[in-house]
């Protein structure tokens, strides 16, 4: 878990590290949308070339990406198999009950595999080069226009940053509660269904009680430090839009245009 959410960030000073989180966030989103429009080898090739350039620019060794994919490999294989077995149309090679394999399903299976890889690669670049806090700040910047319709963007961002800050604390406490109840004779993760359902209560009640205590104490401490309104505060961390962001966007737009062009021709 730690590895998934927090340990994933690798400090560095690469081109990608230096980009603003808001453009990394929006570019990742844009990239996933463009993938929807890829429909042949050439368009997938263009996207793959782009992601390879991005990976190289991030300065992160390729083994990190392979490690990131490894735990997902069975899931990918499973989904690809589903795709192959359940696809309709094309020349059918083999059929058994609801399952069939055709030339079209094999090609589609291959594409799905590439889609998986592309999405995992871009999201891995994002999380390896951007701290969770920076991502939260990026979200805040991206959502800023919504302030015009009185959507509480800053409150949301503050809430998110406090939530992220308390995840390790609560995880720690959960570890202690788990041990305390274990030493009182609870077996977690085994036994009858009834037993498993019951075992959730001695774990969750203390976890929630602790969280409520944190919320109360933190509220007091925040107010003592002059907090009254999350929508009227200045900001310590500001990520400015830089030349790197503009160049990246231009490159991504060009590849996106290329994919659409290939699709038409």
């Amino acid at each position: 878990m730690n590895n998934f959410l927090f340990g994933r960030y690798l400090p560095g000073n690469s081109w990608i590290h230096q980009m603003s989180p808001q453009s990394k966030l929006t570019l990742s989103f844009y990239f996933v949308v463009v993938i929807f429009f890829a429909n042949n080898l050439a368009s997938y090739g263009a996207l793959a070339a782009l992601i390879i350039v991005v990976v190289l620019l991030s300065g992160v060794s390729i083994t990190f990406f392979l490690k990131g994919i490894r735990p997902l490999i069975w899931l990918i294989i499973f989904t690809v198999s589903l795709q192959i077995l359940f696809s309709a149309g094309g020349h059918v090679f083999w059929q058994w009950g609801p399952f069939s394999i055709s030339d079209l399903s094999l090609i589609n299976g291959g594409y799905i595999f590439i889609r998986f890889l592309l999405i995992i690669m871009i999201s891995t670049v994002l999380t390896l080069t951007t701290t969770p806090l920076a991502i939260a700040d990026g979200v805040q910047t991206v959502l800023k226009p919504l302030k015009k319709i009185h959507f509480p963007v800053d409150t949301l961002a503050l809430m998110l940053s406090i939530a992220l800050r308390f995840v390790p604390t609560l995880m720690d406490e959960m570890g202690t509660i788990l041990n305390a109840q274990r030493s009182r004779g609870v077996d977690f993760g085994s036994g009858s269904l009834k037993h498993r359902v019951q075992a959730a209560v001695p774990l969750l009640v203390p976890l929630f009680t602790g969280a409520i205590n944190h919320a109360e104490n933190l509220s007091t401490a925040m107010e003592a430090r002059g907090f009254s309104d999350s929508e009227h505060r200045s900001k310590y961390r500001v990520y400015r839009w830089q030349g790197k962001d503009t160049i990246s966007w231009l490159a991504f737009l060009a590849v996106g245009g290329l994919v659409l062009w290939i699709r038409k021709h």
Partner: protein
């Protein structure tokens, strides 16, 4: 001496609970280190919260720097008071050390460039600048309290309230934080109120107030307060180490003139006793 805080005949109770304070009065002098001692549940932390406008009085009034604590003044008053709480974990708002120190400045809408300078200075003054990128999970309790103090320094208050700020630290961390606050107090000419049941912390104060069951039992210099070790024991407080030793000696027919001496006085006295010349 000017009184920076005047507590005038206040009454207070939490909803659905018996009355905690009934007509309590107390003054805090500008520039002093005041120790507020008493058992858990005696009301000493509540008093701190009332001073900072975190709870609302039932009766009476509290003046901070001449301003009554009320809705209109509360933000101005909180600008003057920095509080350090008991649990280091529950006052760390920012995701990193730097962000946490900036939190109070952001609330006051301080300009960004200025904010960066203040955060740097404040963290340097508590020797935590090298830790600015750390997340709270990777800091010790003592380090978190240092960050809390940096957050207070950043706002340049006139009063610091330590609400059992050292009670969750190990003895080394405790000493370390007290030394730091003492140093900042001298440098910035602050008033310090320390709420504690650590008698050694109280011994270092200019003045001690004993609170028991919402009542002020006594207020005086530590030397005068510690003259009555039995009373301290009766209300569930520790007796200063030197008084314990004096009592133990008295049982061995070695009688001191007083029931309380500070360490230096006690050492001098013992030295006189055992010197053969």
């Amino acid at each position: 001496m000017k009184d920076i805080i005047q507590i005038q005949n206040i009454s207070f109770n939490y909803s659905n609970q018996p009355r905690l304070f009934d007509g309590l009065s107390l003054d805090v002098h500008q520039g002093e280190w005041l120790a507020l001692i008493g058992q858990n549940g005696s009301g000493k932390s509540t008093l701190a919260r009332l001073i900072d406008g975190l709870n609302v009085l039932t009766k009476g009034q509290i003046l901070v720097a001449g301003m009554p604590v009320n809705d209109a003044n509360v933000l101005k008053i909180r600008n003057k008071i920095g509080m350090v709480f008991q649990n280091p974990e529950d006052q760390f708002v920012g995701a990193t050390v730097e962000d946490d120190v900036a939190f109070g400045l952001e609330n006051r809408q301080v300009d960004r460039q200025k904010m960066h300078d203040i955060v740097k200075q404040s963290l340097k003054s508590v020797n935590m600048w090298e830790f600015r990128d750390r997340i709270p999970a990777n800091l010790s309790g003592g380090q978190k309290q240092r960050v809390a103090i940096a957050g207070i320094i950043a706002l340049s208050p006139e009063i610091i309230i330590l609400d059992e700020a050292t009670s969750m630290l190990d003895p080394r961390g405790r000493q370390d934080i007290l030394n730091l606050v003492r140093q900042i107090k001298e440098k910035n000419h602050l008033t310090v109120i320390s709420i504690t049941h650590d008698i050694d912390e109280a011994a270092g104060a200019d003045r001690v107030v004993i609170i028991n069951k919402g009542q002020k039992i006594d207020e005086d210099t530590p030397a005068q307060i510690f003259k009555h070790p039995k009373r301290l024991e009766q209300i569930g407080l520790d007796v200063p180490y030197t008084s314990q030793l004096i009592a133990a000696l008295s049982k061995r027919s070695v009688h001191a003139a007083k029931e309380y001496l500070n360490s230096e006085e006690l050492i001098t006295w013992i030295k006189q006793l055992v010197s053969t010349t």
